[in-house]
Structures are given as structure tokens and as C-alpha cells.
Amino acid sequence: MSTITVLAPTGSLGYGFDIEALKRGMTLKPDVIAVDSGSTDPGPHYLGSGEFLVSRFSYKRELSELIKASRAAGIPLVVGSAGGSGSRPHVDKMVDIVREIAREQRLNRTKVAWIYADIDRDHIKRAIKENQIQDFEAGYALTDELVDQSTHIVAQMGHEPIVKALEAGADIVIAGRACDDGAIAAYPIMRGADPGLSIHMGKILECGAFSAVPFAMDVMLGIMNETHFDLEPGSINRRASLTSVAAHTLYERENPIYQPGPGYAVDLSACTFEQINDRQVRVAGSRFIPQGEYWVKLEGARRIGHRSISIAGIRCPTMIRRIDGILENAREEAMRYFAPQPITVTYHVYGRDGVMRELEPQHTVSAQELGLVIDVVAADHDLAHAACHHISGGLLHVAYPGQINTAGNLAFPYSPSELDAGPAYAFSAYHLMRAQSPTELFKTHFEEL
């Protein structure tokens, strides 16, 4: 097997990379450019709303560079989890950007493939009925009701649908929700590389140069051999080090040794890491363990209401001393006022436990001022706004024992003091669903540009 070089331009499409690092990376003659474009990490909003995670401007700017580089080199470009959540609106809008770029760059004979990851509601309900759904980590069962409430439900595809699109001659693949590592591993696997090594390499490259030092959203390359792969940052100003690669192996996952994916697990217990020169680390020993059954991970999001917030500062020690009681009274008063319409009131009290809430071990206030965020979620925009204003106005003028300033209790940085944060979303599915094959759920479309 000849070596297969994968260039990952950044940790998340739209978050940027150094154009010089891309140019240098391209001199290493990569066989594919592959980039992750999504995650559940920014929360359920993007999956729920269908809004892009990063601006269209940024996606287009970066895709333009990547399409130009990949077309000039005659190598494929793979984008996984398009647009943030990899749901249909994200895929469609990303393909639209690709068409626009193709026109601007006067591309011809360029085949684009896009792969949807949305799962039909009836299909999921049938799977619920047939016991083909398991909770992953959500802590609740997936129900028909949750399925109906979800605005989008996607499944993480493995590498297989992307391999299929590449085998069909796609020059550009825009994949919906995909395993971050699978999107990067697809090309080497198609070329016959060891799937365990490929997926492990994908897991590292999906974060771009986060595995380098100094770390950044920037270009990272992986060079796949028969028995190992080598990591090297695109920028000459970065290096891959044993510490940086090891640190990344731990990043944002629970089990750093045994990592299950759809239809497989990767066992990293026998992995070795070796600094082969100043800028490259060699990784070997990642083992692919096929599983008998094929389960995909579902991700769903549902709207839980609309949110209005108000931000205020509190400086008077007489108020800070009594803050808990004052805030609770205002909450209860507002709930009575708006009853029977339910409202949810959350206070974020910065300077006390605004960051850690119940995990905060220090319970005394040590700051001279508090930052207060009043956070109201209600069924619709008008109610959320009304309740938020009711509470902020009430707190502004509330009387309490020991008060010495009767002119107003809150320092608002803004007028209006309420900000409408739009629809609020929560995850509604984080479950495994059994699939008959790796590709049956993921519809692929092709277009000649």
C-alpha cells in the first residue's frame, strides 16, 4: 500500500485556518481534503432550528479556498456533519454554497454528492415499537411523543455512505450528520487502509491542529501507512508533540481507550505514540473490532418555548446580602401573576454561582458586585417577554429590609432591559437505533456541476 495523506484544514469548517498553512499542506500532496463541520457540542439550537452554526459568509469563504485547492490538485473534498447539525436544511444550504462557488470558479466536470442523515419519524416510531432503540446517555426513553415534538432527528452515519459516494466518483461530498472521525476516515478506508488506524487518525484530525502545539483551528495532516500513521501540522510554526497528541486523545470523550462507533469499536489500549522528528508524531496499534449488529446514534432536538433574558448588575451590599430571598420572592410573584400560563424562571447570579450552579463548592459571595441574568422561557415570545419584564421591573423597585437606596436596585446596561433570545431548544433524542445496513438510512444524491 502506498501512503495516503489526509489534509484536515481546521477543526470545524467556518472556524478558520491559515491560508499559508493550507498552501504548505498542499505541497505535501494530500490525497484528500476532509473536514468536520458539526457536532452536538454547540447545543441543540442548530439541530432544532436548522440555522447554520457559523455564518454563510464564513462557510463560503473557507469552502471557496478548499474547493479551489482540491480541484487544482485533482483530489476529493469531504465535508462531514454539514452546517453544524448535519440536518437536511444544513445540507441543502451547504450544497447551495457549493453550486454558487462552482459557478464563480467556473468549475466543470465536477461531481458533487450530498448525503442526508435525517431519519423519517415513522421509521423511528416503528423502531421504538420493535425494540430497536436503546438509550445512549440521555437518561430517558425515546417515545413517539418526543419523536413528534422533534423538529429534526438525524443519525450519525459511519464512513460507509461517504465511501460509497467517493466510489461513485464524487469530487465533493457534503455529508449530513456523520461520525466526526468517519468523515475523515472514509477516503483512506476506501483506498484499503486499516479501518482502526483510519478511524483513530480521523478522531485526531477532525479537530484540525488542536492536536498540535501551539494548538489552533488550523491545518493538520495525517499520513497513513500500512501499520501506522504520522501526524504533522500544516503550519511550519506548529509541531505535533507526544503531549499535544496525548492531550487530544482525551479531549471531549469519556472513554479514551475503547471507542464504539456504528458497527464497530476502536480499541486504543495497545496504541503507541512516537516522536519521529521535531514536528511529527507516529501512532500505531489502533485496533478495529467489528460488531455483530449495526447501531446508529440518533440526535434530536425539540423546541421547549421562547426565551427572553434581562442582564443587570447589583452593587449595593444591602441587596447582595439578601439576594436569594429577593430573587425567590420575585419568581413566585411572577408565577402567580401569569398563572395559569406556566413560565420557567432561571437566575444566573454571576459573582456567586453563575458558572457552576449546583457544582459550585464555594457558597459565600466573595465579589463586591453581582451580575444577574434573568432567564425566562415560556410558550411564546410575548409571554416570555412580558414575564421577563415583569420580573426585572419588579426587582428594580422591590422593597426589602435594610434597604438604604430607594431609587432602584438594578443597574441595567441596556434599554430595553429585556432581550429576546428567540426559540429555546432542548435535545429530545440521544439514543441508538438498530440499522439493517450501514447505508440504508442515508440517501445520497449526485449532481454534475
Binding site: 452536538t40 457540542d41 492531550a247 482525551l250 470523550r253 457552576m356 450552579r357 432542548a426 440521544y430
Partner: protein, 110 residues
Amino acid sequence: MTAKATPLAELATIVRSKNAGPFRLTFDIMLPDVKTFERVRRSAVLTRENVAKLLGIAPANVTSIFELEAARAFKVTIKRPRGQCDIGESDVYGAQQHVPFMGLLIPANS
């Protein structure tokens, strides 16, 4: 080496927290060398019970603790107090929940 206990923040090169999916929060503690890693390991400070006490959660909500000699690292994962972005969310990425670990006292080498 003094006989005093040392806060973990003064021994570690990395103490960090981060979501591991929408329903887990994971903490990474990386030590600069094998000797310091062994010191922390011998101290047996990073147990399920101690972590639960440190964070004020039930021991059952500590889902795993890994000791990774090759990476000179410890990895602790807990159930998130709430699903990511559920009502009451205060740290969408879980990136600022690591501080209690910084103050964990590690006894001197015996």
C-alpha cells in the same frame, strides 16, 4: 520535596473540563512526568467517592475514572447536572467546571 500537601493545580500541566456529548461532563488532569503521575496515583485522591464529595454529587453520577499511564493523565467523567441547554444551563460547553479539581490536595511523596 517538602512534606506538605500540594494543590493539584501546582502539579498538573492541564486541569480542564469539557462536555463529552450532551449528557456527560469530563475532566482531564495531565501531569508533567511519570513521577508526578505516580505521586497523584499513590495519593488515591481521585476516587469515585472523593470526586462525588468534591462536586457535591451522588457517587453513582460519577460514570468513570481512568488512570492513563501512557498519557500521564487522569480522566474523570460525571453525568451532567442537566442535559446540555436544558432549563438552567450555565456552561454550554462545560468548559469552566474544572476549578474544584485545582484545589485537590495531593500529599507529598512518602
